[in-house]
């Protein structure tokens, strides 16, 4: 099989593959920036919880209007924001927040699945949990593009306080910055997960958000460079995952997440080996 047939032909001949690729690329731009900040703020678990927090609202949207992307997104956004606020209210300020967050995660997921299963079929439950990246239509694509553009612009505008708050949150408050950046960031995470929801579902949306960022973090770069590398890894995982799903007849969402996981594993091994070898070959002080 030629490289053209392997890489280009699936996207050239099939409109749904092109739509899936464009959706993944738009989401990757957002996921690279938001995921990097999540990893740096040590909020990976929060990201996971918020991913599932989208579920009950999306389920209510489903009960109200069926599998309508708009209502699923609006419902998901509303419940994600409510859970983010509740989680902050109940667990905020406590050193050990993990048990509280996991409780939210389990309740939100179970409630969502119950609501969807109540009126829908098993196919609906699977679609809500795992998404359907190959079924992205033009309307859903426009929604993803609009959400991603807004999130990228918001991160660009608030980049400095979000980055500083990640390592010394007391500094921002002490210099008189009263804006609730933690909550603003949580809202951006929810919006990111809602944007990914149709493509990856509530269970998988956290994968393309966190795995490329975690892979980029292995390389010990600065914040902006980590964001750029995470975006690059996300792009590579999207293309590789879509092609693997096409040629191997695999489910596309999990294939993309697996490709991102592979990049994380490779980064972990190579960057770890480089850190150990660099001092031996005299590059430790570089």
């Amino acid at each position: 099989m030629s490289a053209h047939a392997l890489i280009v032909e699936p996207f050239q001949t099939l409109a749904f593959m092109r739509a899936a690729l464009v959706a993944c690329l738009a989401l990757t731009l957002t996921n690279g920036a938001v995921g990097t900040l999540l990893v740096l703020r040590r909020m990976s678990l929060d990201g996971d919880v918020l991913g599932h927090a989208v579920m009950p609202g999306a389920a209510i949207g489903f009960l109200y209007a069926g599998p309508s992307p708009t209502w699923l997104s609006l419902g998901g956004l509303a419940s994600g924001l409510v859970v983010a606020a509740l989680a902050e209210l109940i667990t905020g300020g406590r050193a050990r927040r993990d048990a509280g967050l996991v409780a939210f995660y389990l309740v939100a997921l179970s409630l969502g699945v119950t609501l969807v299963a109540w009126r829908g079929s098993n196919v609906d439950v699977v679609r809500v949990l795992f998404g359907s990246v190959l079924a992205i239509d033009q309307r859903a694509l426009l929604q993803i593009a609009a959400s991603s553009s807004f999130i990228v612009l918001a991160i660009a505008a608030l980049y400095r306080p979000l980055a500083v708050g990640a390592f010394d949150p007391a500094f921002l408050r002490a210099v008189g910055t009263r804006a609730p950046y933690r909550m603003v960031f949580a809202a951006l995470v929810v919006l990111t997960l809602v944007a990914s929801f149709q493509a990856f579902g509530t269970l998988l949306a956290v994968g393309p958000l966190l795995l490329p960022a975690a892979a980029a973090r292995c390389w010990g770069l600065g914040v902006a460079a980590s964001m750029a590398l995470a975006t690059g890894f996300g792009l590579a995982a999207s293309v590789a995952g879509l092609l693997a799903s096409y040629h191997g007849n695999l489910p596309s969402g999990p294939a993309i997440v697996l490709a991102a996981g592979l990049l994380f594993g490779i980064s972990l091994v190579i960057a770890g080996a480089w850190r150990r070898l660099a001092p031996l070959i005299g590059r430790g002080d570089a």
Binding site: R160, F167, R173, A174, V175, G222, V223
Partner: protein
Amino acid sequence: MLHDVTVRYGRRIALEAVSGEFVAGSLTAVVGANGAGKSTLLAAIAGVVRLAGGRVSCAARQRLAYLPQIAAIDRDHPLTVSELITLGGWREFGVFRSPGSALRARVAEVAETVGLAERLGRSIGEVSMGELQRALFARLILQDAAVILLDEPFAAVDPQTMSLLLDQVTRWHQEGRTVIAALHDLDVVQARFPSTLVLARRCVAWGPTEVALRAMAA
């Protein structure tokens, strides 16, 4: 000025009805056993924790600098020493502007003052605890604050760094700035701090160091 300042973490009272005044230009040590509320008091003055009761009034609120315990700083964060010190100019560049060339020159100057001129390009995870504390002091110098709050500033630093940082604290005092430091080393307090506040969740004693430490021992 503290008016019945009370702070709770859940049901636990960390600080209860502390009242009094830090005189402008004073150099005060805050001492007490572990859990006495030293760090909480500084965080309350800095506005970092929510008060359960009372009030903190500070005329120089806009010119306040706060150094938390070094353990609160995430050393894995990808930030260079230079970038960390530059944050001291936050009030000049804020959220949207870039640090100017004048600020960058001042960063080099204060890095020289704290002996970090050769370490500016290093990441904060690569330097020693002492060097990180020096960098945080350089950030404070750049903040040019009227009120400086230091939470255990000499913990985990070598004697040479401690001496350098103590000299900087004395310099701030001589410049007329109000400096409040939570400390556990009573020898340092006796030798370098004219005023002392003794805490045990409540105010036990507050005044000249000798008097306050006598009350603490009683």
